[in-house]
């Protein structure tokens, strides 16, 4: 499967799991997309650890240092899985594992070349020496514990946006 | 062609008309039917609740009665599955009996299976009437793998309309001794099955196991339903 197909498959499956699915080309395009996705003025946690995060950070005037205080987390994640529409968050490189969990809105940026076709490909890539925490995230937090009626945003985010960049 | 008929204890004692219909059907397709004397039961009542010695004794008797090479045909998916799958296991540690069990297992057929696979009875078709739905019994479908044969036969009923049963794969609650051990659950399941049957608007419900049909019939009677409950053998034989 070629790059564009993988990206389309990932975004299609992410959308099917109730995530906002976006594709951008280039930094300018990414910043424009973030401008549309992130409500203006919200407290944003953007760790600024990667090039993409560094590029995005100045966009948020109300940037907070602690994800607990944020309403939105904007971060680049380890990768994605096309098969399931999943983003892959890992604790490597000093990344806060709860950043994508505590705020009500999680915006995950995935580099196009970090999309794995299948679960097998992803696990083969991490199985040798796994970091402390790997979390596969597919869609927003959900429950059907009351009468099997779907409710969104239990303990994790009620809104998840994925951006392929 | 010759075949040995295993009537089953339920048909023998409670539903002789199903046995007679089976004979009529088999003869219609040129089968010489024998009824091995001394046959009783396949042993499931004991086997299914864990009475291994008693089940073995009854199974041993069955094997002593059903000898020879002719196919064994029975109007019950459950009893056929018992012979086919559980007899060899019952005599696992007895080489001589095990050989007899495997020999019998290799030639046992449930009636609809025999009619379609061996006699190709559906090709000629049967006269039929009304609106018919069908309950697929659990042992027939899951243990014996007979899913299509009864449907093929029902679709060959000329003049009858076949309507599929919703949740057809759900157990009717009979379960042999289960109906006696946990009657409330058994009745509740039969009621649920009766609901599905009534919802189809069929005037007849049919099936391949007298036990399930007996349980369903009771639930239909309790609600005063006019829907007729008839074994597939009876339904097919009445037009010929």
């Amino acid at each position: 499967m070629s790059g564009p197909d993988l990206s389309a498959r990932f975004l299609g499956n992410a959308a099917a799991a109730a995530a906002g699915a976006h594709s951008v080309s280039g930094t300018g395009d990414l910043l424009a997309a973030l401008g549309r996705i992130v409500p203006a003025g919200s407290p944003v946690y953007c760790p600024g650890l990667t090039e993409l995060e560094k590029a995005a950070a100045p966009l948020f005037p109300n940037r907070v240092a602690d994800c607990m205080a944020a309403e939105v987390t904007v971060e680049e994640v380890f990768g994605a899985i096309a098969e399931t529409g999943t983003i892959v968050c890992v604790s490597e490189g000093g990344r806060a594992v709860q950043a994508g969990l505590l705020p009500a809105h999680h915006v995950a940026i995935v580099r196009r070349d970090r999309i794995f076709a299948t679960l097998d490909d992803l696990l083969a890539a991490v199985a040798g020496a796994p970091p402390t925490n790997i979390t596969l995230v597919t869609g927003p937090s959900r429950t059907a514990d009351i009468e099997l009626t779907l409710a969104i945003g239990v303990h994790g985010p009620e809104r998840l946006d994925v951006i392929v960049a | 062609m010759r075949a040995q008929l295993f009537g089953t204890c339920l048909v023998d004692s409670f539903f002789p008309e199903v046995g007679e219909a089976t004979v009529k059907l088999l003869r219609r397709f040129g089968v010489t039917v024998t009824f091995p004397k001394g046959q009783t039961c396949c042993g499931q009542p004991a086997y299914n609740v864990g009475y291994q010695a008693e089940a073995r004794s009854v199974a041993g008797h069955f094997l002593s009665v059903f000898r020879g090479e002719d196919p064994i045909v029975t109007p019950s998916g459950s009893c056929a599955a018992m012979v086919k799958h559980h007899y060899p296991a019952l005599f696992r540690d007895d080489p001589k009996m095990r050989a007899a069990a495997e020999q019998a297992a290799g030639r046992v057929f449930e009636l609809s299976q025999f009619l379609v696979q061996v006699l190709r009875a559906h090709e000629k078709g049967f006269p039929g009437k009304g609106k018919v739905t069908y309950h697929s019994s659990c042992h027939l479908t899951r243990a014996l793998g007979v899913l299509e044969e009864p449907l093929i036969l029902l679709q060959s009923l000329r003049g009858a309309e076949f309507v599929p049963l919703p949740d057809a794969a759900l157990c009717c609650g009979f379960g042999g001794m289960f109906m006696a051990k946990l009657p409330e659950i058994s009745c509740a399941l039969a009621e649920e099955k009766a609901d599905s049957i009534v919802a189809t608007g069929a005037d007849t419900v049919t099936g391949c196991d007298a036990g399930c049909l007996m349980n369903i019939s009771d639930a239909m009677k309790k609600r005063g339903s006019p829907v007729r409950v008839a074994h597939l053998a009876s339904l097919l034989a009445e037009g010929i």
């Binding site: 990344r95 059907a144 009351i146 099997l148 303990h155 985010p157 | 004692s13 009542p45 609740v49 899951r142």
Partner: protein
């Protein structure tokens, strides 16, 4: 627990459940919903049968070499920085956990959903030691507020409708009444968020453990599993020994099978792989990780004829399709695990003397075998247990005498024919003796048995 239903009282529990129309409607709704979603979720998967074969083979390999995989897991997890404890039974496991928590002064405990912790009755033990234990899975939280046990392993509060939950929340949490699941969920989020942030420790279960890396793997939808395992400074995980999978690389098929079989989802919202506690350079995560491996009779089960039940991955698919479970619900089974796999585990883990009536809780229809993602021969095991029940003398004496008679009569054509004649003649009496539940549901015997008309 608000009711005294035990496995020994299964028959009367079931009778009560059958008459509870509200419960039956909820159970039917759940069974139908999960059944349909499961079928839809598997529909687009190419070669499901081969996938089930592979998963079954991996589980079989684990059982064949379980002690070796457990040892390997202990070594790997220890290398990753976790402290692993082995508990031979429930009492030991509870005490290990209490001591870990007490030694660190932990008072406020948040819990993720764990059937193994229900199996050992952990909450009561910790509460008796003065700790506050809060279940954080929404369903578990609801039944904890109500003082009940789970009725379903995936959807613990399946027996409660939205109005009951609304009433419970308004009474116990002092919030305005609402029966909107989204509003109720938001209430739980708010209440439980405070609990997470102030907790001294998190206690979770695990769906699987990878022997080669020492990782724990958890499947959740709500995110409470992620909270419990990463927010408090101390994380204690309890799991039973058979949850081993040889390698992290073996997981794709289990990730594909478990959510589809359980809830009809392609994948759960979250799948967490946790390998050891926070390490130098990690920004967050529990500073200390303790893993309690529970045996509680499993090594003995492994040596017996019913060992294949240990392949089970607790998806609950067998429960959702079981005609008995969908009619009576989980509480009637009287212990932690309901449904086909549950009645087997109940019998094997608590002993025949405490559980023998639940081995009757199957029509042997085989629907469970059709859906089991790892091909546990559930019907064969139920038959094994019924034979054991008879062998060990737990069957009803009247039934035993009746079966002895059946064994003789049905093996003798003369006696069988005599029995038929007697039953025919005395049917009105049989009907009265057999009661409306049994003989009352059968037609009268035929005047002339088929054998006398047969060719």
């Amino acid at each position: 627990m608000s009711d005294a239903q035990t496995s020994l009282s299964f028959r009367s529990n079931a009778g009560k459940a059958v008459r509870n129309q509200k419960l039956r409607a909820a159970m039917k709704h759940a069974a139908d919903t999960f059944g349909a979603k499961r079928i839809d979720a598997f529909a687009p998967v190419a070669d499901v049968e081969a996938m089930r074969d592979r998963a079954s083979a991996i589980r079989e390999e684990v059982l064949k070499n379980l002690p070796r995989y457990v040892d390997q897991f202990v070594a790997s997890a220890t290398r990753a920085g976790a402290t692993v404890h082995r508990a031979k039974d429930a009492t030991v496991a509870k005490e290990i956990i209490r001591k870990i928590l007490a030694d660190r002064g932990a008072r406020r405990i948040v819990k993720g959903k764990s059937m193994v912790s229900e199996e050992v009755d952990l909450n009561a033990h910790l509460e008796a030691a003065g700790m506050e234990v809060v279940e954080t899975d929404l369903g578990e939280y609801i039944i904890q507020l109500e003082g009940e046990a789970p009725s379903h392993i995936i959807v613990p509060a399946i027996h409660k409708d939205r109005r009951q939950v609304g009433k419970l929340f308004s009474e116990r949490l002092g919030v305005p009444y609402s029966d909107d699941p989204q509003v109720l969920t938001r209430t739980a989020r708010k209440v439980l968020r405070e609990k997470f942030l102030s907790a001294d420790a998190g206690v979770s279960g695990a769906n699987f453990a990878a022997a080669d890396t020492g990782s724990l793997v958890l499947f959740t939808n709500e995110g409470n599993g992620r909270m419990v395992t990463t927010v408090p400074p101390l994380h204690v995980a309890i799991l039973s020994i058979e949850k081993m999978i040889p390698s992290l690389a073996d997981f794709p098929d289990f990730i594909r099978l478990l959510p589809r079989s359980a809830t009809g989802q392609t994948i759960t919202s979250y799948v967490s792989v946790i390998t050891g506690p926070r390490k130098p350079g990690d920004a967050t995560g529990a500073k200390e990780l303790h893993i309690v491996l529970l045996d509680n009779g499993r090594t003995e089960i492994l040596g017996g004829e019913s060992r294949d039940i240990l392949k089970c991955i607790r998806c609950g698919a067998c429960m959702n399709v079981c005609p008995v479970y969908r009619t009576v619900g989980g509480h009637a089974y009287g212990w932690t695990y309901p449904g086909p796999m549950g009645l087997i585990l109940t019998t094997l883990l608590t002993g025949m003397a405490k559980s023998h009536p639940v081995v009757d809780a199957s029509t042997l229809c085989g629907a469970c075998v059709d859906v089991c993602p790892v091909r546990v021969p559930l019907v064969d095991i139920i038959l094994q247990l019924r034979r054991r029940k008879v062998r060990e003398g737990f069957s009803d004496p009247k039934e035993k005498a009746g079966m002895a008679l059946f064994g003789k009569v049905a093996a003798s054509p003369a006696l069988f024919a005599l029995g038929q004649r007697l039953a025919g003649r005395f049917w009105p009496v049989v009907r009265v003796l057999g009661g409306k539940d049994v003989a009352g549901r059968m037609p009268a015997p035929a005047k002339t048995p088929f054998r006398r008309k047969a060719p």
